[in-house]
C-alpha cells in the first residue's frame, strides 16, 4: 500500500513536470499553417526553412495544394495564411470578416517552350502564338510564323500544342495574357485556371508538359521560366506590346514588372506590359493574410516572415528561377505588413 502510494506520488510529480515543459514550449513556439499555390512553393519552402533556422520559435508549415485550394482553406480559416497566383476574387475577399491583406512576394515569367531540333532560335509574333493556342495555326511553316523568322527553314510539320491538364495559376496568367492581346481568344476561350482549350493535348503539371514537349518533336507548350531553364528547354522569343522581340530572362521580366504601378490593394495584373524591353508574360504571386490575428505571437511571426521574404528572401529567388520584386514594391510590401 505504502509503496503504491509513493509510486503514485512520483508518477504525478513526473507528469506535472512533463506537462509544464509542454505548456512552456507551447507559449514560446508559434506554429504557422499555410497552403496554396504550387508555383512559388519551392521558394517559400526555402524561406521558411531559413527563417525557422534563424528563429527556432517560429515553425512554418506550407502545403502546396494549388491556389484554389489555398484560398478555400483560407476562407474556412483552417490556415494562417494562403498563397495564390490568381490573387483573390473580390467576392471571396468580402467573405472574410476583418479583411484580407494581399502581398506580392515574388514574381515569375511564363515561357513558350518548343521542340524543333532543326530550329535553334524561334521568334513568335503576338498573332502567331495566340493563333497557335487558338488552334488556328497548325503547321510550323505557316506564313505567320515564317514572317518573323527570316532565314530560318521551318519544317512542314504539324504543330502539337501542349497545355496543362490540371487547374493551375500558370494557366490563369497565360490565358489572361492571351485574352489581353487577342480579342478572339477572350471571346472563345477566356480566362480560367482550366479553360476549354480549342487545341492540343493536355498534360499534368509543369513536369508533364515538359515531358510531353521533350518527347514529342514539333510540340510547343507553356511552362514556368524557372522550370524550362532547369530542364534546358528551347524557349521562343516573343513579341511584346511595343513590337520588340524579347527573350525570357530575369532582366526582361523585371522590366515588365517595373512598368506597372501597384495599387493600394496590391492586386495588379501585368497582362501586357508597355516597356520596350519587357518580356510579355509575367505575373506576381501573392501571399494572402488576414488583416486581424487574435494571437499576437502569430502576427509577429508573420510580420517577421514577410519582412524577411521582402528583403533577404528576394536574393534567393533568382537562383530558383523566380523574378525578384522591384525594390519599390518590396518596400511597399514591408510598409503594409508592418502597419498591420
Amino acid at each position: 500500500m505504502n509503496a503504491n502510494h509513493r509510486a503514485l506520488v512520483i508518477l504525478s510529480l513526473v507528469s506535472l513536470v512533463f506537462l509544464n515543459a509542454c505548456s512552456g514550449n507551447k507559449a514560446n513556439t508559434v506554429k504557422l499553417q499555410g497552403a496554396g499555390a504550387s508555383f512559388p512553393a519551392p521558394l517559400y519552402q526555402k524561406w521558411f526553412k531559413t527563417y525557422s533556422a534563424a528563429h527556432p520559435s517560429v515553425q512554418v508549415d506550407y502545403q502546396s495544394v494549388g491556389s484554389g485550394s489555398g484560398v478555400k482553406s483560407f476562407l474556412d480559416k483552417t490556415v494562417d495564411f494562403a498563397a495564390s497566383d490568381a490573387a483573390m476574387k473580390p467576392e471571396d475577399m468580402a467573405k472574410v470578416d476583418g479583411g484580407v491583406q494581399l502581398l506580392p512576394m515574388t514574381a515569375g515569367a511564363i515561357v513558350l517552350a518548343y521542340n524543333l531540333p532543326e530550329v535553334d532560335k524561334l521568334r513568335l509574333s503576338r498573332a502567331a502564338y495566340s493563333g497557335i493556342f487558338l488552334g488556328k495555326i497548325t503547321k510550323w511553316n505557316d506564313p505567320l510564323i515564317a514572317k518573323a523568322n527570316p532565314g530560318v527553314t521551318l519544317p512542314d510539320k504539324p504543330v502539337n500544342v501542349v497545355v496543362r491538364a490540371d487547374g493551375s495559376g500558370t494557366t490563369f496568367v497565360f490565358t489572361k495574357h492571351l485574352s489581353a492581346i487577342n480579342p478572339e481568344f477572350e471571346k472563345t476561350v477566356g480566362v480560367n485556371t482550366l479553360p476549354n482549350w480549342p487545341a492540343g493535348t493536355r498534360s499534368k503539371g509543369n513536369e508533364g508538359v515538359t515531358a510531353s514537349i521533350m518527347t514529342t518533336p514539333g510540340s510547343i507548350g507553356y511552362v514556368e521560366y524557372g522550370y524550362a531553364r532547369s530542364q534546358n528547354l528551347h524557349m521562343a522569343t516573343l513579341e511584346n506590346k511595343s513590337g520588340n522581340f524579347v527573350d525570357a530572362s530575369t532582366d526582361s521580366a523585371k522590366a515588365a514588372l517595373a512598368s506597372a504601378t501597384l495599387p493600394s490593394d496590391f492586386i495588379i495584373w501585368v497582362s501586357d506590359p508597355d516597356a520596350a524591353q519587357a518580356y510579355p508574360i509575367v505575373t506576381y504571386t501573392w501571399m494572402i493574410l488576414y488583416k486581424k490575428y487574435l494571437d499576437k505571437n502569430k502576427l509577429d511571426a508573420i510580420k517577421g516572415l514577410v519582412n524577411y521574404g521582402a528583403t533577404d528572401g528576394q536574393k534567393e529567388s533568382e537562383a530558383l528561377g523566380y523574378v525578384p520584386l522591384p525594390e519599390s514594391v518590396a518596400s511597399q510590401v514591408q510598409a503594409a505588413v508592418n502597419a498591420m
Binding site: S69, S212, T215, G218, S219
Partner: protein, 353 residues
C-alpha cells in the same frame, strides 16, 4: 474401468495440480471478454458499411446543386467549359469504360497466358532439362534451381503490383510513347480509313494509357488465375491424359474451364482497379474532351478529370465534380455487382454439371 469415485478423485487431482483451470465453467471475466470481443468485431464490420454509406451520402449532398442545375443532361453533354459554365461528362464516361475494357482485354490475354505458364511449370521443366544436359539435375544445390526459378518468376510478376502508379506514368511518358509512336503513325498513314487508327499519335493518348494500364492490372489477373489453375484437382488432368488428350487439349478443354470461375474473379477485380486508376491515366491519356474510338487520339477519364480539376476548383465547380464522382462510384458499383452476378451464375452452372 474407472468408477465414479475414480473420476472424482482424478478431478480433484487435476484441480490441485492446476487450480481452477480445467474443470471450472468460464469465469465472469472470460465471459465478459468473449462478449466484448464479439461486439468489437461486429462494430468494426459495421464501421466499413457505415463508412461507405457516409461517403456516398456526403458526396451526394454536395452534388445536389449540380444535379438540380444539369440533371441527366450532365451524363450526355460533351462540353466541359468552366467559363461558359457548361459541363458534360459523356466523353469521360466513354473514356473510362473504353480504356478500362481495352486494358482488360490485353491484360487478360497476357495475364492468363502467364498464369498457365506458371501453373504448368514450363519454366521449371526447361531449367530441369538444361540441368539434365549437364547431369546436375539431382545435385544437392543445382537440383533445387527449377523450383527457385519458378518462385522467382512468380514473385517478379507480383512485384509489378507494388510499383507506384506515378512511376508507371513517367515510364509511359518517357519510354512507351516514344517507342510506339513510329508504329502508330505508320498505321495511321497506311490504314487511316480504319476508325481505330483515324488520328495520329502526337503524345499522350488512349493507346499508351491502355498499354500501361494493362501492365498494371496484369499481376492481379495472373496471381488469381494461377491460384485457380493450381487448385484444379490433379485427377482431372490425369483423366484427360488417360482419355488420350494432348497437353494442349487438356489445358484448353479441361483446366481452363474448371478454373474459369477463379479467373473471372481476377478479371473483375482487375476491372475495378482499371476503372479507378487515376495518376498514371491522368499523365498518359491526354486529358482532352474527345469522344473518339481512335486508339491514338487523346481522351479523358472520370478519375483523371477529378484529379485534375479539384485543386483549383472554385465553389461553383465543386458540386459539378462531386456529381462526376458520384457517377464514377455508380459505374464501379454496377461493374462489381455485374461481376458478382456472373460469378454466381458460373458457380451454379459448374455445380449443376
Amino acid at each position: 474401468m474407472g468408477t465414479a469415485s475414480d473420476i472424482t478423485r482424478a478431478r480433484e487431482e487435476v484441480a490441485a495440480w492446476h487450480p481452477g483451470q480445467i474443470w471450472q465453467p468460464p469465469t465472469k471475466r472470460q465471459r465478459w471478454f468473449d462478449v466484448a470481443f464479439r461486439k468489437l468485431c461486429v462494430a468494426f464490420a459495421a464501421l466499413t458499411v457505415v463508412l461507405i454509406v457516409v461517403l456516398v451520402v456526403e458526396i451526394g449532398i454536395q452534388a445536389i446543386p449540380a444535379f438540380r442545375e444539369f440533371g441527366f443532361g450532365f451524363l450526355t453533354g460533351r462540353v466541359w467549359d468552366p467559363n461558359a459554365h457548361t459541363y458534360g461528362i459523356l466523353p469521360e464516361i466513354w473514356g473510362t469504360l473504353y480504356t478500362s475494357l481495352l486494358a482488360l482485354f490485353f491484360g487478360t490475354l497476357f495475364g492468363v497466358a502467364a498464369a498457365i505458364f506458371l501453373a504448368e511449370g514450363y519454366l521449371g521443366e526447361a531449367v530441369f532439362k538444361l540441368l539434365k544436359s549437364f547431369n546436375l539435375h539431382f545435385h544437392p544445390f543445382w537440383g533445387k534451381l527449377p523450383q527457385r526459378c519458378e518462385a522467382l518468376l512468380k514473385t517478379l510478376i507480383e512485384l509489378l503490383a507494388a510499383v507506384p502508379s506515378v512511376v508507371y506514368g513517367l515510364w509511359g511518358l518517357f519510354v512507351v510513347i516514344p517507342m510506339i509512336r513510329p508504329l502508330c503513325n505508320w498505321l495511321h498513314s497506311q490504314f487511316g480509313w480504319f476508325p481505330l487508327f483515324s488520328t495520329d499519335l502526337s503524345g499522350p493518348g488512349i493507346l499508351p494509357a491502355v498499354l500501361v494500364l494493362a501492365i498494371m492490372v496484369l499481376p492481379t489477373i495472373t496471381a488469381i488465375s494461377r491460384d485457380a489453375l493450381v487448385s484444379v484437382p490433379p485427377k482431372l488432368r490425369m483423366a484427360a491424359y488417360g482419355l488420350g488428350a494432348t497437353r494442349w487439349e487438356t489445358i484448353l478443354g479441361v483446366l481452363l474451364p474448371t478454373a474459369s470461375r477463379g479467373i473471372f474473379g481476377g478479371i473483375v477485380l482487375a476491372f475495378g482497379r482499371a476503372l479507378g486508376e487515376t495518376m498514371a491515366l491522368a499523365m498518359l491519356v491526354g486529358n482532352a474532351n474527345h469522344l473518339t474510338v481512335s486508339l491514338f487520339s487523346p481522351a479523358n477519364t472520370l478519375a483523371a478529370l477529378l484529379a485534375n480539376n479539384f485543386p483549383e476548383a472554385d465553389s461553383k465547380q465543386i458540386p459539378v465534380l462531386m456529381y462526376a464522382a458520384l457517377v464514377l462510384l455508380a459505374i464501379t458499383l454496377v461493374v462489381n455487382m455485374f461481376g458478382a452476378v456472373v460469378l454466381e451464375r458460373a458457380a451454379g452452372k459448374a455445380e449443376a454439371k
